[in-house]
Assembly symmetry: C2
Homo-oligomer: 440 residues x 2
């Protein structure tokens, strides 16, 4: 940037929050899908419709531990006049045996085991003497301890209708049915369903890899000793955690000193593992704002959409912002302001939706609700800026936490919402309704 | 278990869902705290109060890019009659220099840089000619391109009050103040605050390591070919994902065949990496229910609280349940029924609260709300059982998904809530208010 270019020819144009977000999202596309093992796909978005290849359950099976019998053989049975049947063997879950149940016969059958040929219904073990010759039993003895239970005689104390306690083949889902629609986010039950229909891998959009780096020669690592003029780097920690929270695989590079060459080469080094780069600091109007200095010129003039653009937004906190793409793959980059609260608010408004767009999610924004302002005095807000204040939300009410100062990181840690004061409002009275972004 | 022990002497006692949950949680204690790197502690619970060791900001610093000056030197300044000051140098963020600002002098200062001795206030660069000798500028030229900006003369166009655009030492938090309370869950802003006050590590309760294994000789891995009587193992996938979702580090062991010795040795092998063991299947009344067979006898009679107890609960689905502890460290173990929906509902009701108790969270349960039932016909429910039906919740209404059959895993994958029908209700009419557990 030449010195002449910094001359002020009146007011700088301010971009609206919405226009800036729109421009960012226009430059971010969902990542190319890959085939992942089921458990690696947790939280990811399904790319294709998944149909059921095989009916579930895949065969008629027992829903109880009991005896597989013919209906006629137990008709009219009672505890006083039980039906006595010959036990021809066990059908365990996973059984592939060829046991047949003929007239006057019963097969001892376990939950989930296939209904054997000849059997028409299942009587639960609690409706029988369990082969012990006494009253009704509450359970079968373990096969390994009492192998004789698979033979001998069983007395059945109650009749059963045809197909009682039988789960029919295809009664859960049928082959060819739609199991899950493209666009479904894979949570635990969806992963369970995919496993149940035999899918060991699935095509999804992967989690984006997000590289986070902060800039500033004043920044040192936590646990080091502060010297004069130094502060601890917190942005790279907070935003790495926030990127993970949004669904990304996040890499914290840490703090880079205010030197344009170092910054440029660090960013270029990281591109190999980045689907998105997030920087903090160095985007304002100072003489040492190296992100602006280093990245204003990275674009290729012949490539549309290439390069990083720096803007001032009509918002507070978070006025200076940069965005664009960098490197041979046009990796998206968002350059946030360096103040911890500004960078965090900017992350919520711009980076989180970008990450969720990369993931292919439909719903990329935090939920917004209307709430009644609980406060001792009116909130004030600068004209022409959309203000985002830290707040605590509960039961339709929101209470401001800390003041409007953009450096109040302690307040941020006790907030769970952002109170939105529109551009045209210069104050909001207690009791008024406000828009609230729920952060949690 | 002897054959005689299975004789039924009337009705089996049924445990209530609430009593069972209470017994489980009584046997689960929060894990011992460990010191973790900040980003490894994300989602964990802080064990100690954290106080601020050093005031933030640690020194008076500029909140703008501009010039540090004396108030008297810019009093009455205007664009027509600017105050002309000698620029004595730059104060960049991180600067530890000994620059002094005397009468008639200005130091060019960057956001976050320490206010130099002698300076009383900061005028933003936009209120000056930026040293260029013209009208007001919108930014400073980059130091690396225009080093002369750190010297020469600057014209200031507006006066400034004392301490304007100065962030005072300690204005965010003061040394000795409480930064975060014990019990706080560490999300991104809390991690940011800890970093900002210089904490690189933090004492938290670690994520519990949860080992998930399913049992059943009928189970094969997804992507294998189904033979007669076989089904795909889905529980170990769904519950591993659900354990992660609850905050745990989850290990999926997979399916173990119905053999008591194999099961016992597999569980014992896994104890080395388990804070909690979850099994599915083999807990009912059949002759091949190996979890019951293998684990009923693992307890040490001389050790109170040792061993696994098997119960029937007054609930549907999920009647048979086992719980207790196993191994030399009394590792908690929950033995869930094998049916996919039964195991998933049991996980939500019993395992998730246990995981969250291990984490030290105060709020271990899913949120519960009241909702109006939207349905074509009344829901029916067995007397004396608390029924949990899959449902979809939106805007105060809940709609059942799928039927009451406990094997409807496809319905579960389209539900986001469980509809609770109390023990005493045998039916619920459309339009009635019901309790709903929100799953997501």
């Amino acid at each position: 940037m030449s010195a002449a270019a910094t001359r002020n020819t009146g007011q700088d144009p301010l971009w609206s929050v919405d226009d800036h977000l729109e421009d960012i999202l226009a430059g971010v596309q969902p990542l190319e899908p890959i085939e992942l093992q089921l458990l690696d796909a947790q939280g990811c978005v399904l790319v294709d419709d998944v149909t059921v290849p095989v009916s579930l359950p895949p065969f008629d099976n027992s829903s109880m531990d009991g005896y597989a019998v013919r209906v006629a053989d137990v008709a009219g049975a009672s505890e006083e006049f039980p039906a006595a049947l010959t036990v021809v063997g066990d059908v365990a879950a996973g059984s592939t045996g060829k046991l047949q149940v003929g007239p006057g016969e019963a097969a001892r059958i376990m939950t989930g085991a296939p209904l054997p040929p000849g059997a028409e219904t299942v009587v639960p073990v609690e409706w029988t003497d369990g082969g012990l010759g006494g009253g009704p039993v509450s359970a079968m003895p373990a096969r390994s301890l009492s192998p004789e239970g698979a033979s001998g005689q069983v007395r059945v104390h109650r009749p059963a209708e045809a197909r009682a306690h039988v789960r029919e083949k295809g009664s859960d889902v049928k082959a060819g049915e739609l199991a899950l629609e493209a666009g479904t986010v894979l949570g635990p039950p969806q992963i369970g369903l995919l496993a149940a229909i035999g899918r060991g891998t699935v095509r999804v959009r992967p989690r984006p890899r997000v590289v986070v780096l902060s800039t500033g020669s004043e920044l040192i690592q936590p646990d080091e000793e502060l010297a004069g003029g130094q502060i601890y780097d917190s942005n790279s920690f907070a935003l790495t955690a926030a990127a993970r929270d949004a669904g990304a695989i996040a890499y914290r590079v840490g703090a880079v000193a205010d030197d344009a060459d170092t910054l440029r080469s660090t960013v270029e080094d990281q591109l190999v593992r980045a689907d998105l780069v997030v920087t903090t600091g160095g985007v304002s109007v100072g003489a040492y704002d190296v992100v602006k200095e280093a990245l204003s010129s990275v674009g290729d003039e012949d490539e549309p959409g290439s390069g990083i653009e720096f803007r001032k937004l009509a918002m507070q906190p978070g006025k200076p912002q940069g965005f664009g793409s960098i490197g041979p793959d046009h990796t998206p980059l968002l350059a946030l302001p360096g103040n911890p609260v500004s960078s965090y608010v900017s992350f919520e408004l711009f980076v989180r939706p970008a990450i969720r767009t990369l993931m292919g999610l439909k719903d990329v924004h935090r939920p917004r609700v209307r709430a009644v302002l609980s406060a001792d005095k009116a909130l004030t807000s600068p004209a022409g800026r959309r203000q985002f204040l830290r707040g605590k939300y509960a039961d339709g009410h929101v209470t401001p936490v800390g003041g409007a100062g953009s450096h109040l990181i302690a307040a941020l840690a006790h907030a769970d919402a952002l109170i939105v004061v529109p551009e045209d409002d210069r104050s909001v009275e207690p009791g008024a309704e406000v828009e609230v972004l729920l952060l949690g």
